[in-house]
Symmetry: C2
């Protein structure tokens, strides 16, 4: 494929040539997806900052030279990526820190960062001549794959745990996907999906195993770098469930480092929900993973047996970051803070990065004088049931102005 | 203000100089908001297509020379406008028409076209030195104003009929607005909000009366023109509730016509839900409005006593368009069709334009050889309760691969 140099195992470092359905290491037997590396030296000649500055494609396809697809002919029309990046002064002030930047990936076509990965998956499926595609998902990857598949005419088969929020399942229906609600966990849904890949040769859009999906997710980091004019913040806070997104963030920065676009990678902080924190635990305890039964309202990161945990830990360790956990209450607090200071509504997992930043500042794990960026990974409209728990100034009133006036005076507003 | 020439009554044509809180005609007593006209001849010298092509502001503020604000200093950081415009080949093919374009305004920061108007309102409030702002809304304008207000530090007072969907009210809480759930209709909420404007001098973000809000809404038309390289479709289909959005679409095209950017305005079609179609009725019957009790699932256009009905009729009449009504069932059908062919999920009112196009094609009101554009005015995630009524392929399965295999074979997929 175009500019790909090799696939490589992150554990035994064995290189492989690219070929269809080669996802994990055939040599050491690692179950971690292979890394995808490009011909950076060759690319440097033409893929430059200047070339980028003249690029009028304002979607994540602007990074085509370092994406694992053959051409732009088979990509979806949907406008994936190039989501807004904000310098949130009022939030920084409220938190008493110098700088906070927000990358709002809830404004992707189906409302989450997952569109970056799904758009790569459907493009590769089409390039491979495959007509059917599958994934397991706690929700966002599912609705994302369903939407992207609909947009290019692929048939999608989606496995979701039956606990998935109604809004996400409704999206699947609207997008015309075949949906299997599994009476079990995310892991059960994942296993069934994988068995179908083997049995029916459906294209496999499971981020934990298909190496090309992280290549999609990495574009969020490429955009952060470019939108900040390659002057990166000190810290980047990322919510962590399976570990693929944080791995993608790291990979994007590494690609730009190898290309000479940036000189240094920000310190990456992985934020897990306390009730679903196996990677946090593994990072603290001898790097061994102990699966757990996930219990958090942040459904998008409610993963008890993460596939990409080693990649998540690499992202943190290689950048001198750290892992941190936050409670559901802290997540809700972050949601309200983000909404009321910035007008941005993130889903629980979408604001978990901010919850981590708040805690890290409070616990003096990062200095107030540093600059941080949070990635809002999903739109709050995807899961209003959690948000409904946030308190608000809601007043039921009759159609009576004098009663209303009294109420307003009483409120002292 | 900058390039504004005059405000003008659309009924008696009396011109007025701009001044704060002059919203409707002081001369003939019309209750229709004044039109805002700019110094087009002067503007033409500098505000050109070439100037636009070099403009790197990819939000709706790129049209600053024809927006009613003093400077860009007080605008929200939120990325309003410049939403994607798609050439939806698969949908056109499925419908058997030549061309259909989709402008997806559900990807605005709070998920609807209303952000265009709210962003103008909060900027003007700040320029006027007002700290509090109010509106009445069936939902989208409310969540939009709440989000935009939060982003600039204004205090918002929102009046919603108690029938507003949960997702929209939840957004209000997250954005920290003061919310009054009125035990009555949209009109009751509107009247209470207006009384508060008089009593407390809050800034008035009611589209039906504040002339500057239509100036915000018009940017959707400006973007359509520019994104299509000024080669416009034959028809533009717009859902109509109060009438402000369709009035904004017309106004945007008129501005570009006056500036010489386009030669002709597309024919504008107003689509109303059958259960809330007073403007359709008025257009058919001697141009007299008879209020009705609105009954439709498309809450964003469930308006029985529209304020801007005359502007809506002007938009249609001046462009040789027409009005059409669609049933809730047709709206749901359009929702599923849009989702399953394009991967775009619109709320009921958001897909009402498409429902109108489908019906117009079926009834031979427009030729299959023509090109049409629909504006998706709001994100489907805002109201999943309606979408849940759409049928889908949902299968509950146990964690058992052999049972699953049988099911899949049985499905013949």
């Amino acid at each position: 494929m175009g500019n790909i140099d090799k696939l490589q195992c992150m554990e035994c470092f064995r290189p492989f040539s690219e070929k269809r359905e080669l996802y994990t290491c055939q040599f050491c037997g690692s179950n971690i997806s292979l890394d995808v590396w490009y011909n950076y030296q060759e690319l440097k000649k033409t893929f430059t900052r200047e070339w980028l500055s003249k690029n009028n494609n304002f979607t994540h396809w602007r990074y085509f030279p370092i994406l694992p697809i053959k051409s732009l002919k088979s990509v979806s029309m949907l406008s994936v990526g190039w989501t807004p990046l904000y310098d949130a002064g009022s939030l920084a002030k409220k938190m008493g820190i110098r700088k906070i930047f927000i990358k709002d990936d809830g404004l992707n076509p189906t409302g989450s960062l997952k569109d970056r990965a799904s758009s790569i998956a459907v493009a590769r499926a089409l390039e491979d001549g495959v007509k059917k595609i599958t994934c397991a998902s706690t929700g966002n990857a599912a609705s994302s794959l369903a939407g992207l598949s609909a947009s290019v005419g692929l048939e999608a088969f989606i496995f979701v745990p039956e606990s998935a929020p109604a809004a996400k399942v409704t999206q699947l229906k609207i997008f015309g996907a075949n949906v299997f609600l599994v009476k079990g966990s995310y892991e059960d849904a994942f296993n069934l999906s994988m068995m179908c890949v083997d049995e029916f040769k459906w294209y496999n859009r499971n981020s934990g195993i298909n190496p090309y999906l992280i290549e999609g997710k990495k574009t969020v980091a490429l955009e952060i770098a470019e939108q900040m004019n390659f002057k990166l913040p000190d810290w980047v806070f990322v919510a962590v469930g399976d570990g693929c997104t944080i791995a993608g963030v790291w990979k994007g920065f590494v690609d730009f480092l190898k290309l000479g676009f940036i000189k240094k990678i920000p310190k990456i902080v992985g934020v897990q929900a306390k009730g679903a924190s196996p990677i946090y635990q593994a990072w603290h305890k001898k790097r061994q993973l102990t699966p757990m039964k996930p219990e958090t309202m942040a459904d998008s990161i409610a993963v008890g047996t993460p596939r990409s945990w080693k990649k998540a830990i690499r992202a943190v360790d290689e950048t001198n970051g750290f892992f941190i956990t936050v409670t559901d209450k802290e997540i809700l607090g972050a949601m309200k803070l983000l909404g009321s200071t910035c007008g941005i509504f993130g889903e629980p997992a979408g604001v978990t990065g901010l919850a981590g930043l708040i805690k890290a500042v409070k616990n003096r794990m990062i200095p107030r004088s540093s600059s941080s960026l949070i990635i809002v990974t999903g739109n709050g409209l995807k899961d209003i049931s959690s948000a409904q728990k946030v308190s608000g100034n809601i007043f039921k009133i009759p159609v009576d102005f004098s009663a209303l006036k009294k109420e307003i005076k009483h409120l002292n507003i």
